[in-house]
């Protein structure tokens, strides 16, 4: 305990509105809901094999949030020698909230914002669970 944090890592996808939802949900968790117990890091650092970033994911619990089924965040975390404790896809949340489709990459719209909040709430609970297990 103490300094341990859960790293919430979205996929950095630039092509899909669902990736924007994942990114926004991450920010909500690490800045608003669980700033003491969660953080993020740039996925591109893992892609480039940055050792400091890789060390963080190896030594802490990780939740990944994917904008699509290509699962880039999970795969990049795994390539760094770690395994996410939990992997989410924004689509799975969309399936349960069909009316909350995000509108565009640059502006997810009202539906996207609501979906973001729902995801962030769940991920925040999961951060609590994972920290509790430390």
């Amino acid at each position: 305990m103490g300094n341990e944090k859960v790293y919430v890592i979205p996929c950095s996808g630039i092509g899909k509105a669902t990736a924007s939802v994942g990114r926004d949900a991450t920010y909500k968790v690490i800045e608003d809901k669980r700033p003491e117990t969660s953080d993020t890091l740039c996925l591109s650092l893992l892609t480039m094999g940055d050792e400091e970033a890789a060390d963080k994911v190896r030594k802490n619990k990780v939740i990944t949030i994917e904008g699509c089924a290509k699962d880039c965040a999970r795969k990049n975390v795994e390539a760094s020698g770690a395994t996410p404790a939990i992997s989410h896809r924004v689509h799975d949340f969309l399936k349960e909230h069909r009316d909350l489709k995000p509108e565009s990459v640059l502006d997810v719209g009202e539906g996207g914002r609501q979906l973001t909040e729902i995801m962030a709430e769940q991920v925040a609970d999961e951060v609590d669970d994972l920290i509790g297990k430390a």
Binding site: I14, T40, S44, D50
Partner: protein, 145 residues
């Protein structure tokens, strides 16, 4: 007679780094260029797919000139292009640019306000200049309208 086949697109790769405000600016600036300023010429490339995806992104980046847009001097986008598909045509380091512009305020990665939007717009224009230069130099073939 051999004819040189020139690419008709410019690939722009953004770092999209989540932990830094400049990563958010990079992502949004590239989208602006792609959607509004140079649609049909600019194709955005997805950096995490370089490692996680099939070879589509990397192969495409080998066939077209690539502009790398990084949030900071860790230069993930530029290094990824070098590593996976060849030299970049041009590189933008947003943090360096912002320093040159004399911006000293703390920027937000998650709630882009007026300042962040202005900076995004300025970075987008820098990208547009690089795209236009490639077209002017004949490195990209664009249909005349």
């Amino acid at each position: 007679m051999e004819m040189e086949v020139r690419p008709t697109k410019v690939g722009v790769l953004s770092c999209s780094g989540e932990s830094e405000a400049e990563g958010t600016i990079a992502r949004n600036a590239v989208r602006l260029v792609m959607e509004e300023y140079r649609p049909g010429i600019v194709v955005s490339l997805c950096l995490p797919l370089y490692l996680a995806g099939d070879s589509g992104e990397r192969d495409f980046a080998r066939r077209v000139p690539v502009i790398a847009v990084d949030g900071c001097d860790k230069a993930c986008a530029r290094l990824a292009t070098d590593k996976y598909s060849g030299d970049v045509e041009s590189w933008i380091d947003i943090r360096d640019l912002i320093n040159q512009w004399g911006v000293t305020e703390q920027l937000s990665r998650s709630h882009p306000g007026k300042l962040e939007q202005e900076l995004t717009e300025r970075v987008a224009q820098e990208i547009v200049k690089l795209v236009d230069r490639l077209v002017a130099e004949g490195k990209v073939e664009v249909d005349n309208q």
